[in-house]
Symmetry: C3
């Protein structure tokens, strides 16, 4: 485990708390993050890949759009520090720079960057969930003992692509023989997926249920079932709400996750994270993934706000606004460093 | 039919109209109901099962959370009356105390509590819909004349669980032979489901279309069709809007339902109810269920408000706010008793 | 191609810019359009078929509901002009009066009415998309060279009804032999559908991504796959958001479409339009249809506003409001005529 530790307090010492910028990679949930930040009065910076800046430049709420070669992301660190930037990490950031570099990046980063390593490794990921005492699908280390159907997850898969289901031993063996990547073989839980967005607030000392979504996956074609094999490529997200009687379980699993992170991955998790589950027929919630940072599913509530955000605030909020709100309050109370790693 | 009749006028005589509390069972749509009530200035009470109060205690808009053994729900009646409470009934209330006790509960209850009996009995339910002249699926009393596929609905089923589809006579016979519960065998209408939320306003003398939803059902697994039999367990809800050309039909069926209730189940229905339909390929709406009170599907609009609510009000409203608004106006106009049974 | 040209400038010369009415056919997206217009201070007119006015008369934001025999729609032109009306065209208007009459209707019409002809003809439609250099499904003029599965689209089909999929040559031949209507045979692209709503603003000189939806289609029955053939009858719409990394492509295709229209169908397109796509497994967006005017899918955001509208405006907006906003600004700036044909 990497624990070199960026000295956030030291970096913040040179920051002007009245002139904080919010920076993020121009993709994934950047529109939401930067719009929220702008609304709360922060300067905003979108960091795009070369030739990808044009899309973000049209929006008035983004003060600066930089185009950066991500193989040399480190070169913009001085500019980021000069602008008193807090970096909001998300899935594309991790994809572009990799968790190893993200962990060492000398920029104050919202939430717990050390979680990125756990997220990147299917086995560490499941270990953390199990430590949190959250029900998870069985992993079949020895495929001779697999119970079918199973789902095979490649370590390097992006957005679900490359995962596959095997209905029996014969299909599993045949397909595993073609694989070169690392993978895990997991119980395929029968039920429907649901993704829970949380916000762990240090400022208010509470875990908030923010919202939920369902992933919209190509090519799960509902019109000609059986025509093609579904590939789980996530192309979008659909809003959903849960039976209220399931919410206490969602809350409990979220709190157990927060506790587990604080024990295994100090300094614990501030801000957004997600648990990703299957709900079975008997209303059990089986969690098969987590994300230790903002998920793209929160985009379904951009600008409109989520149903559950009104449980904590007077008006609906989106996740970009929620993050900006937390940072603003952290600055006001002089506890900003606690929100960052 | 039970018609003992709670004397609401008598109960209200001891109430202070300036200090009304809104009380509901802490489940189902309680968050929405109590948040709406709080927004309109009412005192709010959440009544939870033993050890289930913790979840609701975190929210500032709930003034009191009580934990109550529902086998002795009647014991809290004096406390409810003392706090000038109006009880908002919903699916979990009916599930916990049963319709028989709900009908006799000596607490002013929003809407028409006598409908609960009709809702609980598959045959009374269909009778009311037919009386309202709303198209419904055929019921096959004599399974020898069934047209397949059919859906078999158990009287005691909760949230759709235990319903099953039979594609032919052989499958039907085999599965019926295993059943001990009462059931009806109904035509399985081919099409897509849609659930309509209405609000019948006595205060404004109009039937409002509030919103719509689709139920999110485990384990209707879209990824491996045919792997398991769908069980119709509702785990959540998804927002949907209808073709505008279907809205007049939705409105008409709603008005016919209101009229039928006022004739068969006096004193008629004030407040929220729902019609639950299949829309077929030729745009016919076939109604297979109703709920004579708030449905959990309205939760998809919590805090955000529904698309159709803006047809009647300046700003989007959720169903909790809509209920609170009606009660507030009823108090102002001195017509509160008409909204209650 | 019809290019008779209504002289909008001449018609507007008799209009009082301070007393503009917004008129539309009472169906499709009329509630949204008229509510938005009312919010922006316009007088509103709903034009219903005989005996269909009652539904619209209940809403306070509609100032006048007329019942009109659409075979004689032209008879109300003087009344429309007298009230300084701008007609907002939508799918039902085209369905009721036909594109030929719509093109000649002597009433100022929002957007580009000449596009209606292109929309009505499957081959013109695909030609325009191809001219715009937007990826489209292959059309098999010679079915001997078809790659299966294919989708067969009837020219006269309404709302998708009558489309069918053929999995192989035998099925295609058998079903084509029953057909009397004109049709095209198209590659059936495997993936998931997504419909993009745009607003091309002349006032702000920009193309806005407004929102997205998925169509809710009867009878694509997810519960008994294979039981019936899906018929693609659209009964409603469901909100969706896209992966942010796909948005630049959506924006680019939209801009290419705007450019193509300005070249092939002068005077170009002002206001709402839609591109209708399949997103494949490798994240390609294949566009199979367009609508050159407001689509019913925007109804999912009525009153609430869309996620993407906040990228351009401080508060979420719905498409009815967006149209009214544009007209209002056009009047203010003296450029109203440019928004109309």
């Amino acid at each position: 485990m990497i624990r070199e530790g960026i000295d956030v307090e030291r970096l913040l010492r040179n920051y002007d708390p009245d002139r904080i910028s919010i920076a993020t990679i121009a993709s994934h949930s950047a529109l939401q993050i930067l719009r929220g930040a702008h609304k709360y009065g922060f300067r905003t910076i979108g960091i795009a890949r070369p030739e990808h800046g044009w899309f973000y430049r049209q929006f008035g709420f983004i003060d600066e759009v930089w185009e950066v070669d991500f193989t040399d992301f480190e070169s913009i660190i001085p500019k980021l520090l000069e602008r008193n930037s807090i970096l909001i990490p998300h899935g594309s950031y991790v994809e572009y720079v990799g968790w190893r570099r993200a962990i060492k990046m000398e920029v104050p980063t919202f939430g717990n960057r050390y979680l990125l390593e756990w997220e990147a490794d299917q086995r560490l990921k499941m270990k953390l969930l199990e430590y949190a005492n959250i029900p998870t699908p069985r992993i079949f280390d020895d495929v001779n003992y697999a119970k079918y159907p199973v789902i095979v997850k490649l370590y390097g898969a992006k957005g679900g692509r490359g995962y596959f289901i095997a209905k029996d031993r014969e299909e599993l063996m045949r397909r595993l023989s073609d694989l070169n990547d690392a993978y895990i073989v997991q119980e395929y839980v029968i039920g429907v997926p649901a993704y829970y967005h949380y916000f762990n607030s240090y400022v208010y000392s509470r875990l908030e249920i923010f919202g939920m979504d369902i992933r919209y996956e190509s090519n799960v074609d509902m019109r000609i079932p059986g025509l093609v094999e579904p590939t789980f490529t996530v192309v979008g997200n659909i809003p959903v709400v849960l039976r209220e009687s399931l919410l206490p379980t969602v809350q409990r699993y979220g709190e157990q996750f927060v506790k587990a992170v604080s024990e295994l991955v100090p300094p614990g998790i501030a801000g957004p994270f997600s648990l990703e589950s299957i709900i079975t027929d008997d209303m059990s919630i089986i969690v098969f993934e987590f994300s230790g940072r903002i998920v793209a599913g929160t985009n379904v509530y951009m600008g409109i706000g989520s149903q559950y955000s009104v449980l904590y605030f007077d008006k609906p909020m989106d996740m970009g606004e929620r993050i900006a709100h937390e940072i603003k309050e952290g600055i006001k109370r002089g506890t900003l460093a606690a929100l960052l790693t």
